[in-house]
Symmetry: C2
DNA sequence: CGCTGGCTTGATAAAGTTCAAACGGGGTGG
DNA sequence: CCACCCCGTTTGAACTTTATCAAGCCAGCG
């Protein structure tokens, strides 16, 4: 992984590319002050408690947002490079969830004040960031439907379909092959089940020839049947139209 | 219910009161063109398919947002008067969910173009509406955690706590008594369970002295124990501080 | 070589679903 | 005014899915 020390905003701007930000905005974004921090896996991303003062961008690695109940964890979002997991803190500074790395990861932190200033100067950027938060909410809704109405296999299948398309959109997956750094207990906590049951369902999926999964790499063996098993409709991801190809 | 024919924006502005919109903005909002429509219960709120061109405001009654899977429904949001269920359509015009009235209801519809114009003129209004969509997402997260990690009683208890506070905030509930127009099958579809099971759990809650529920009216008999059973933390609703009183 | 973290297996229990039928109250039409 | 019907609720019994508990496995690493 020849990780060249590039501008931390490359990945964000790539993510926002479909919005066709004007050059002026792109340049202004690049001038934002970003504090980059590196994390180990399973490390909490803490803002020293209290109201948030920064937003973060995932540069590399995967990050999960979660809520805790007595002894139980629910992962409410999984973020990949280019994502902005806590943009909501701009207007809801009191966080309602925690963030945790799922892998080795690096993140950039940008003060709210600077983002606000930029939005004031470029209202279009505000709209683009607003849209980002709406996409997160759309994914939340799809997850709710999975948690409420899909069985174990459907939930796993749906998550794999979603993550494949999201990774593919940023160039981190291709040819039905993708990284899958999540542990079985992460999958369990994202899908509202136990590790044991996830393990058994994964075996079912392998036996059914839907997927191959080993060494942190997931291969989708039969996209059509996986989509069918998931009752997956990519609409909610609002990706560029070329997804229709699949 | 002496339903005076008042300005459709009263309820919205009341909802947004904590934001302290300047008078100029309030007046501009009131001048927005609003088409008011009345609905029967269980009626779909259709935008004639295709991309949305309007946003709606719930004026009276309750409205649910839902996603369908083969033969199964998941309610992903419940909206009460003053709520704006599809603000997200401003930036994600392709809807990823349907809307359905849960009661007799009336709604106001406002063209995107007019809202966009107003946001351009008053960026502060844009921020306030953005925040509204973030609140919806925060509620989504709380629901996910319930769907994934709470048992039947916890889910019902949590929903009742949430709805009580939301209704109380707009003056539609008081003294631990609130309207509960949702049918048991609505509760089931919101909480990812079956009507039969919801029915049995409701009986448990009554027997435990947590609630009284009859004639579409819910009385919370023991707020403290209901909160405990729900593991309810009102933070995510971002209501005014006086909620701390409870 | 022995630990550790994550994966796998088995047996048992609990929570929730399914199917089917009955109940009950409010509204309607004869 | 009564009978009926409809919609939502309630009940029962059998069944599935998923959780729980506990132990074993296995590969990579220090």
């Amino acid at each position: 992984m020849g990780e060249e020390h590039s501008d931390p905003f490359d990945i964000l701007l790539r993510r926002l590319e479909p919005a066709h930000l004007p050059d002026a905005v792109r340049h202004a974004v690049r001038k934002l002050p970003a504090a980059v921090r590196d994390f180990r896996p399973n490390q909490d991303v803490v803002h020293e408690g209290g109201p948030s003062t920064h937003c973060c961008i995932v540069l590399t690695g995967w990050v999960g947002c979660y809520q805790m109940l007595e002894g139980r964890r629910q992962i409410v979002a999984i973020h990949i490079p280019g994502d902005t997991p806590d943009l909501q803190s701009l207007h809801l500074p009191e966080p309602d969830f925690g963030m945790q790395t799922m892998t080795v990861a690096s993140m950039a932190f940008i003060p709210h004040t600077d983002i606000q200033r930029l939005i004031a100067a470029f209202p279009f950027l505000g709209a683009v960031l607003w849209r980002e938060t709406l996409l997160v909410a759309a994914i939340h809704r799809a997850w709710m439907t999975g948690l409420g109405r899909r069985n174990s296999l459907g939930r796993l299948a749906h998550l794999f379909c979603e993550l494949y398309l999201r990774l593919e959109a940023i160039g981190l997956a291709d040819a039905y092959s993708m990284p899958m750094p999540l542990r079985q207990y992460d999958l369990a906590d994202a899908l509202g089940q136990t590790t044991v049951h996830i393990n058994r369902t994964l075996q079912d999926m392998r036996r059914a020839g839907l997927i191959e999964l080993e060494g942190r790499q997931l291969m989708i063996k039969d996209w059509q049947r996986l989509v069918a098993a998931a009752e997956f409709n990519p609409l909610y991801l609002h990706l560029s139209p070329k997804v229709a190809e699949l």
